[in-house]
C-alpha cells in the first residue's frame, strides 16, 4: 500500500514539475523531488479536486496534495472528482472513509485576467468549517497561491506554521559553470541569481528574503558580496587581505557576521550591511569561523578549533568569552541554530563519515539524521521543523530535506551537474 501511494505521489510530483518547467525563468531542468518516510502521527485528510482548476496554469489541488503529503504530517487520501466550496458535502460520510479533514475549492477567471481561488477546510469529526478564504492573483502566482493554501491548512491542523510558500537558495556546478539559484521549497520555479566561471559558496539569506550574501572566487580569492535579488545589484561586503567568507545576517538585518583571515588566521568579525564598521569578535590563535546568529540576535554560534579539533561554541553577539556546546567526537562543524532556539544542527565526522546531527538543547539529546556519509551545509526551515542540507549520492551532489525528528525525508537532485550549499529562505509577506 505505501509503495502504491509513493508511486502515485511521484507521478503527481513529476506532473507538477513538468508543468512548472514551462513557467520556469531558467532553461535549466527543475529539481527532481523524491519523498520517503512519514512522521510519527499523520492526520488523514481528503483533498478534492478544485472545480475549474484546469483554467489556471497549474492544478492547485495537486500542488496542495503534494505539499501536504511530502510534509510527513499528513496522509492524503485518494479522492475522485472535484468539489467546490459552495457544494453541499456529507461530512459524516467523509469521516467514515477515514478523513479527519476535507479540503474543497474552486478556481475562477476574473475579468482582469487574474485567477480567484476559493477554498474551504472542514472538520469531519465536528462537522464544522475550519477555514474559508479566497486568494486572487495573476496567473504566474498560481503555484504560490496553492502553496499558501497548503500553508493555511497545515497551520490550522498542526498548529505549526507551514513553509510551502518559502524559497531556498543553493549553488549548482556544471563543469566550470557555477550558478546561485533560487527555487520554491518544492524545487520548482527556479530563477538564476548569478552565473560565474568561478566557485560560489556559503549563500545566506537576508531576514526579509530580498537579498542573498555569498562568497565568490571570481577575484581568485574568497570575497563576500550581498546581492539584491530583485534588482541584481551587488554590494561588496568584504575584500580584506586574505580570505573573506562565511557571511551570516543578523536577525534585525543590520549586520553581517563573517570569517576573515586579514589578521593572520581565520577569525570572526561583523560589519554593517553596507560593509562599514568592521568589528572583531573573536581573538584566538586557532581557526574561528562559520558564525550564526540566534534568532533573538543575542548570541552567535560558531566553529572553533581552539581546543584542538573543530567544535561548536556560543558567544555573545558582541564577542567575548565563548562556551563550548559540542563534546561528542573530535570534529563538529557548521552549526545552525533553529529559529525557535530549541535545536542545534551540525555536521559531525565520526568513523570517517560526515553526517548531519541534531542536538536538542533542552534535553541535550543528540540524534543522527542521515545515513549518507558526505553531508554539508545544513539550514533550518523558518518553522524550525525541517533541515535542508547538501549531500552526495552516486558521486553527485544533491540536496536532502529531513524533519528534525529524522522521520520524513526528501531528496532534491538536478538532471545534470551538482547541487550544493542550500540555505532555506525566511517567511515572506
Amino acid at each position: 500500500m505505501p509503495t502504491l501511494r509513493m508511486n502515485v505521489l511521484k507521478r503527481y510530483l513529476r506532473n507538477t514539475l513538468l508543468l512548472g518547467a514551462f513557467l520556469s525563468f531558467s532553461a535549466q531542468a527543475q529539481l527532481q523531488v523524491e519523498t520517503y518516510g512519514v512522521g510519527a502521527t499523520q492526520i488523514p485528510i481528503a483533498i478534492s479536486g478544485f472545480t475549474n482548476e484546469e483554467l489556471a496554469p497549474e492544478m492547485v489541488s495537486k500542488i496542495i496534495k503534494a505539499d501536504l503529503n511530502g510534509s510527513g504530517y499528513f496522509k492524503v487520501l485518494n479522492t475522485l472528482g472535484s468539489t467546490s466550496e459552495t457544494d453541499t458535502v456529507n461530512l459524516p460520510d467523509w469521516k467514515s472513509q477515514g478523513a479527519d479533514a476535507l479540503l474543497v475549492g474552486s478556481v475562477q477567471k476574473l475579468d482582469d485576467g487574474r485567477f480567484d481561488v476559493r477554498y474551504k477546510l472542514y472538520d469531519t469529526n465536528k462537522s464544522s468549517t475550519l477555514l474559508a478564504f479566497a486568494i486572487a492573483g495573476s496567473s504566474q502566482y498560481t503555484r504560490l497561491t496553492a502553496h499558501k493554501i497548503a500553508d493555511a491548512v497545515f497551520e490550522k491542523l498542526t498548529g505549526i506554521r507551514g513553509v510551502f510558500s518559502t524559497r531556498i537558495a543553493y549553488v549548482t556546478k556544471n563543469g566550470s559553470n557555477y550558478q546561485l539559484e533560487i527555487a520554491d521549497a518544492d524545487g520548482s520555479g527556479i530563477q538564476v541569481a548569478i552565473r560565474s566561471k568561478e566557485p560560489i559558496i556559503s549563500p545566506s539569506w537576508s531576514p526579509d528574503g530580498t537579498k542573498v550574501a555569498y562568497v565568490s572566487f571570481e577575484l581568485k580569492k574568497p570575497v563576500v558580496y550581498a546581492q539584491n535579488l530583485m534588482t541584481g545589484q551587488r554590494t561588496l561586503i568584504a575584500n580584506y587581505k586574505g580570505n573573506n567568507s562565511a557571511p551570516a545576517w543578523s536577525p534585525d538585518g543590520s549586520k553581517i557576521a563573517l570569517a576573515l583571515s586579514k589578521d593572520g588566521l581565520t577569525q570572526i568579525y561583523s560589519v554593517n550591511v553596507d560593509g562599514t564598521n568592521l568589528q572583531r569578535l573573536t581573538n584566538t590563535s586557532g581557526i574561528d569561523t562559520e558564525p550564526q546568529y540566534s534568532l533573538d540576535g543575542q548570541s552567535i554560534y560558531f566553529t572553533s578549533d581552539r581546543s584542538g579539533g573543530p567544535q561548536i561554541y556560543r558567544m555573545n553577539a558582541s564577542g567575548g568569552e565563548a562556551k563550548r556546546v559540542t563534546f561528542t567526537g573530535g570534529y563538529n562543524i557548521t552549526p545552525r541554530i533553529s529559529p525557535d532556539g530549541q535545536t542545534l544542527a551540525y555536521i559531525s565526522r565520526r568513523d570517517n563519515k560526515f553526517q548531519l546531527y541534531a542536538l536538542d538543547l533542552g534535553s541535550n539529546q543528540e540524534l543522527r539524521l542521515t545515513d549518507t556519509s558526505d553531508d554539508d551545509s545544513p539550514s533550518f526551515a523558518p518553522n524550525s521543523k525541517y533541515i535542508v542540507y547538501a549531500t552526495e549520492v552516486n558521486q553527485r551532489g544533491s540536496l536532502g530535506v529531513v524533519s528534525v525528528d529524522g522521520r520524513t525525508k526528501q531528496r532534491l537532485t538536478t538532471q545534470a551537474g551538482d547541487v550544493r550549499n542550500p540555505t532555506w529562505g525566511p517567511f515572506m509577506k
Binding site: K220, P222, A259, I287, T289, I333, R349, D376, Q395
Partner: protein
C-alpha cells in the same frame, strides 16, 4: 690606397687640366678658393651598433627552480616539509630582488570535510608559505595568503593520490 687621396688627386688633376685649357686673357687671376671636398656618401664599415640581449626572466626559465610554484602538504598538516625549502628560498630570493613583484599564495585542501572549515585550513597552508618567505626577508606588501579550500581541486579523483595532489599551496605571480 685611400679612396679619399685618389679622389683628391683626380680633382687636382682635373683642376690642372682645366686651367691648362683655358685662354688666359689677363695675367691677373682671381684666387681660386679651394672648396672643401663634398662629404663622401659612404657606409662606415667600422661602426659597431651595440645590442642589449633580452634578459630571460628567471621566473620562466624552464631549467630554474622558480618555474616550480607548488608546495605539497601531508594530511591535516600545515608544516612545510624540508624538501620544499629550496623552492621557498628561491622564490623568496627572487621577490627580494624584484620588489615590484607581488604574489598571491593560494592554499588548497583535499575534498574531505566542510567547505568553510576547509577554506580556513587551506589558509593555514598559504600562511605557512608566506611566513617562511617573510622570515627570509620578503616584504609583507609583496605577498597575500588566501585559500581556495576544496573548491578548485587539481586532481579529480577520490583516492589518496588525488587527495595528496590537492593538499597544496600555489604561488601565483
Amino acid at each position: 690606397m685611400s679612396s679619399i687621396s685618389t679622389k683628391l688627386a683626380l680633382v687636382l688633376a682635373a683642376a690642372a687640366l682645366m686651367s691648362a685649357c683655358s685662354t688666359p686673357k689677363e695675367e691677373v687671376k682671381a684666387p681660386v678658393a679651394e672648396a672643401p671636398p663634398a662629404p663622401a656618401p659612404v657606409v662606415e664599415n667600422r661602426v659597431v651598433a651595440p645590442v642589449v640581449a633580452p634578459e630571460v626572466d628567471p621566473l620562466n626559465d624552464p631549467k630554474g627552480m622558480l618555474v616550480k610554484r607548488s608546495v605539497y602538504f601531508d594530511f591535516d598538516s600545515y608544516a612545510i616539509k624540508s624538501e620544499f625549502d629550496p623552492l621557498v628560498s628561491a622564490h623568496a630570493k627572487y621577490l627580494s630582488s624584484h620588489t615590484a613583484r607581488k604574489i598571491l599564495v593560494q592554499g588548497n585542501t583535499d575534498e574531505r570535510g566542510g567547505r568553510e572549515y576547509n577554506l580556513a585550513l587551506g589558509q593555514k597552508r598559504a600562511l605557512a608559505v608566506t611566513k617562511s618567505m617573510s622570515a627570509l626577508g620578503v616584504a609583507a606588501g609583496q605577498m597575500e595568503a588566501v585559500s581556495l579550500g576544496k573548491e578548485k581541486p587539481k586532481a579529480a579523483g577520490h583516492d589518496e593520490a588525488a587527495w595528496a595532489e590537492n593538499r597544496r599551496a600555489d604561488i601565483v605571480y
